[in-house]
Subunit: 328 residues, 2 copies
């Protein structure tokens, strides 16, 4: 949560002019996005109503060569009535611009708030929205390798080392070794692939009541197993933040919402217990790495890796293997 770069009002007005959205009326740096800077802008073309936008400046973690995938995806989904913000192209038709060496994109502002304690009705809507994205991207022409896949988790956890993981929690190193081995050996083959959001936490969903008004922050989106995206979303929504409490009602509502739009194949359902363990390892790996490698004076507070170690234990427990239902 930070704004890493300062842009003066005069520069901001020039940026807004380059995107041809009229005169700048307001610009506020917003405390969103872990690795990018964001501003909420208002601008107005003569004779039109004022409009609002999110201006994103891509900092370290986003590769500029990936931006066409992320930004074209938003336009593709938006054109197919998925609740995602569309991008604003500049006067030359480009979906992003460079400003002092950094890439900038202007994205439609969507109303809605990110819930902290979802209701089953909200979880149902999120499941349905995710399924809609999965169906809509079936013919999306671009591919992007999931750079945050199994090999990366392994590398990040190796970098933490046995001592580092033990310092986070006694026994964590052994759990991680066991799980990485299990996941590698049982990774499912032949499941439906498509574009996955891969990071659909409540922070990345805007809602009004039970309606999803926006899925945002697609900067981990990639081509991968659709069922893995369900597993990530499950891990993100069905637990208390700290991972100590699992909510079975949210879990059921999320899956029912998803299947109300896209029924799971039997093989996908059968793979979900394994993919849920994988999703837990994915966030455990980045959180453990960031926990050990965030400088004390950083603008961002690292998130607790234990919250995902607890989810991992939950998903790995034998009594929870039937969580996702039996193949029909």
């Amino acid at each position: 949560m930070a704004v890493y770069t300062r842009i003066g009002a005069e520069d901001m007005a020039a940026i807004v002019a380059a995107f041809d959205v009229g005169t700048l009326l307001s610009a506020k740096g917003i405390a969103e996005g872990v690795s990018n800077s964001n501003w909420l802008l208002e601008a107005q073309r003569e004779g039109e109503e004022p409009r609002r936008f999110i201006l994103t400046m891509y900092e370290e973690r986003t590769e500029v060569e990936d931006l066409p995938f992320f930004l074209d995806l938003l336009d593709y989904l938006s054109a197919r009535k998925c609740p995602v913000p569309r991008t604003i192209h500049d006067r030359e038709g480009a979906s992003y611009r460079l400003h002092e060496g950094k890439a900038l994109a202007l994205i439609e502002f969507l109303p809605g708030v990110s819930v902290s304690e979802p209701t089953p009705g909200q979880a149902h809507s999120v499941g349905a929205a995710l399924a809609k994205v999965h169906l809509a991207t079936a013919d999306f022409p671009q591919r992007r390798t999931n750079t945050m896949g199994l090999a990366t988790w392994q590398r990040l956890l190796d970098a933490c080392g046995t001592d580092g993981l033990t310092a986070i929690h006694p026994g964590l190193a052994a759990t991680v070794a066991r799980e990485l081995d299990h996941i590698t050996r049982h990774w499912p083959q032949g499941l439906p692939e498509g574009v996955v959001h891969a990071d659909l936490f409540p922070d990345n969903v805007l809602m009004l009541g039970e309606e999803v008004t926006g899925l945002i922050d697609f900067y981990f989106a990639a081509t991968d197993l659709l069922a893995y995206d369900i597993a990530v979303t499950h891990a993100a929504w069905c637990f208390s933040d700290d991972g100590t409490r699992f909510d079975a009602r949210i879990s059921r509502a999320l899956l029912e919402g998803y299947e109300s739009v896209r029924p799971l194949q039997a093989e996908e359902r059968a793979a979900l217990p394994l993919l849920a363990r994988a999703a837990a390892v994915r966030f455990l790996s980045t959180r453990a790495y960031d926990w050990m490698n965030t400088p004390e004076d950083a603008l961002v507070t690292p998130k607790d890796p234990l919250a995902f170690a607890r989810r991992l234990e939950f998903y790995a427990a034998s009594e929870n293997q039937a969580l996702f239902g039996e193949p029909a």
Copy 2:
């Protein structure tokens, strides 16, 4: 620039309901305010247009007992057509509420951006807006002692110590001692008093073109010499950020703008050279203190005290004593 406190969407909806502004449509933490947390909210009452607000949560530096002065002042000025945001009172008529032990106020959102490189036309407007505030508050019934006055500068600079000031710049300790002595001995008596903003930097002024759309952040406002407020605004607007370049055109425009609304008395004009040195010492004192006392992991980067040491040198130089014009 930070949001210090997290408020979940459910709590935010309850806060908005208590202020009776309808249903929450959007809430973004904004990177504004050095010592308070701020959110840009949108809410809508049934059958009305959506409206925007700034929600401020007062953190450490603001005393809750001062809030009625600050908030009533906004309503008083707003009713007298000064460009300041009015406050929204809650269902019980209170101008602020407590949430988990911290005070919260809901304030009207105003359009406009804070300029980085003001033009003379903009400086003229800011001078005029300041004079309008000074005239409008002539009958404001509340008083507040300026807790950021000469005694406080002395205390903060004492706390820095000779070694601390010398570490910031060789010779700074001697300059500070000389100036504090000079200012104390020559502090003007009998000048017009009223409500001063006392912190009218470009960051605290919203503009659209050359129009001032909002004066904001009145949390240093107090009862003091009106001419001192002019001196603060002069120090804030007429130099490059780092204090190395003085812009005589901005200076002239600012003063002319002010006098287009409220002509200076001869005694005020005569006191301005001294008050400008005082204004420079005021910001030097807080910046030097913060420079030495900000923890390395703080969310806020301390501002360079040298920028105001340079302004102080400029104002103290004999060739600049006629800067504010001769008594008519």
